[in-house]
């Protein structure tokens, strides 16, 4: 649980897309959708589980599909969240060696990290799409809810693609500006920049 979260304050307010024009507008929508999925997903998990406990305790019978709903919510939250975390530079990383480098070195390394990470994300996006296709062709169903299982993975390639785009934009941002950026909107550094948080 080593995520570098300075405070529990909400510092993920409004998101400014790094993409130009119409693409930026769409990206902004996706960012909003991700935020809503994150919050709603967590709240629904709590409600779904509590309702199941109460139903079992009071009426003696829980809901058959409660577990499957939580499973779907976990997938949604995870894959909406990886894109969102990339937007705000929140992915867990071990930055000790990186931090010891001078600014120039950090910048070069960050461009490399961002490009490589972006490539890996698009790779996973492609293969997760392929996985969904395979599931679609096999027609496996969710035992309790009864609909086909590939539905619950739809946000997976989207999450990878969004994350890949964000890291790609981070690389560009580092190319075009003076500071070192962890994500398109987050300047790197916690040791020397108290004012920033």
């Amino acid at each position: 649980m080593s995520e570098n979260i300075p405070e529990l304050e909400d510092d993920t307010g409004t998101f400014e897309s790094g993409l130009p024009g119409f693409l930026g507008t769409i990206d902004g929508w996706i960012a909003n959708a991700e935020a809503v999925i994150l919050a709603a997903g967590i709240i629904l998990m709590a409600i779904n589980t509590c309702v199941n406990v109460v139903a079992r305790f009071v009426f003696g019978e829980g809901f058959f599909f409660s577990g499957e709903i939580n499973r779907i919510l976990i997938i949604l939250v995870t894959f909406a969240g990886i894109g969102y975390a990339a937007r705000y530079g929140r992915h867990i990383r071990m930055s000790a060696v990186y931090d010891a480098l001078p600014t120039k070195g950090r910048k070069v390394l960050m461009i490399f990290i961002a490009l490589f990470t972006s490539a890996v994300m698009f790779f996973l996006c492609y293969h997760s799409y392929g996985y969904i296709e395979t599931l679609y062709s096999r027609g496996r169903i969710l035992p309790a809810l009864g609909f086909e299982i590939w539905w619950i993975y739809i946000w997976v390639p989207v999450g990878f693609a969004v994350t890949g785009i964000q890291y790609f934009l981070t690389a560009i941002k580092n190319f075009t500006s003076e500071d070192v950026y962890l994500s398109t909107g987050v300047v790197d550094g916690y040791a020397d920049s108290e004012s920033e948080v």
């Binding site: 079992r56 003696g60 019978e61 829980g62 058959f64 577990g67 499957e68 395979t134 096999r138 027609g139 496996r140 169903i141 969710l142 035992p143 309790a144 009864g146 299982i149």
Partner: protein, 313 residues
């Protein structure tokens, strides 16, 4: 070649014994080798099935209960009192049944799987917080079931309250009385220590835990004739070994349980008591046909006919 085989149980369990007998035959009678993966090594039941379909694994052993999400008809084994109780009749049934030996291979083939062998693992035993002999006694009993609608229907029909729960939480839930009981073959009740927390064993005779060994169909179809024969012979060899293995296994497990605990009670329902439970079965059959349509209906009829045939002998 080195072939890969995954099953869904632990070391020494029935599927593991079957797998190693299968391996023994293959390796003794050819230059091929067989790598066996046990439960959890490559994921859960659904995972190893998908990996077999993808061709990463050549062989997989999966219980039809789990295959239900892929082949709805495979849930037929959850219909109570469809199979005989006596072990010799059951084995006879697996040898002779047209449903098992002709109809099921076709269903599996539609899903890129070559069904090699279906075999019984053991009779289902219900463990409960008190000995129960009637459907009325099952009222309000929360019984753990796998997430499988037909199995749920069976326990609803029996008068109990089916409660889906992952296997990992069963022991704890029994201990804290979150649930009142569960069903499993007796050797699992013994190896999982479930009798410690749910000591009243009830033999209802309502079904056998059945499982199936199969191969990836592309892999199998692409093999030369002698390899196909080798695999079929290995499956038959392992089947013969497994039926002698399970014969007496149940008694051994029960003896171990009774030696380990004084609290355990054993209730075997008599014919009259069984009739009361049996009377609830049609409800489950109806649900099965609802879920599987005409194909399921035909399979069910074939099953019943096969059953009559073996019981005549």
């Amino acid at each position: 070649a080195n072939w890969r085989y995954a099953h869904e149980e632990y070391e020494g369990d029935v599927q593991d014994v079957y797998a190693y007998k299968f391996k023994e035959y293959i390796e003794d009678n050819s230059d091929h080798t067989l790598q066996i993966y046990r439960f959890g090594e490559l994921g859960e039941s659904d995972d190893i099935m998908e990996q077999t379909q993808a061709g990463i694994l050549n062989f997989v052993n999966q219980s039809p209960g789990f295959t239900g999400a892929l082949i709805p008809e495979a849930q037929i084994f959850f219909i109570p009192y469809l199979m005989p109780t006596d072990i010799n009749t059951v084995i006879e049934f697996f040898r002779e049944s047209k449903a098992i030996n002709e109809d099921f291979p076709k269903l599996y083939a539609e899903n890129d799987l070559e069904l090699l062998q279906m075999y019984p693992e053991g009779e289902f035993v219900i463990t409960l917080d008190e000995p129960v002999t009637t459907p009325e006694g099952m009222k309000n009993k929360k019984i753990r079931v796998m997430t499988n609608p037909l199995l749920s229907e069976t326990y609803s029909a029996f008068g109990a309250t089916p409660t889906p729960l992952p296997w990992g939480e069963v022991y704890g839930a029994l201990q804290t009385n979150m649930i009142n009981g569960q069903e499993n073959p007796i050797f699992w009740i013994e190896s999982g220590g479930l009798y410690e927390v749910s000591p009243n064993l009830v033999y209802t005779g309502h079904g056998w835990f059945t499982t199936a060994a199969m191969a990836n169909k592309n892999f199998y179809d692409g093999l030369p004739k002698e390899d196909k024969k080798l695999i079929q012979d290995a499956a038959d060899y392992a089947f013969e070994k497994i039926i002698t293995h399970i014969d007496g296994l149940a008694d051994e497990a029960l003896a171990k349980i009774q030696a380990a605990s004084d609290e355990v009670t054993v209730t075997r329902l008599n014919d009259e008591q069984i009739e009361a439970f049996k009377a609830r079965a049609p409800q489950v059959e109806k649900k099965f046909i609802e879920m599987t349509g005409q194909g399921g209906k035909d399979l069910l009829n074939q099953f019943k006919k096969d059953l009559e045939d073996v019981q005549k002998n």
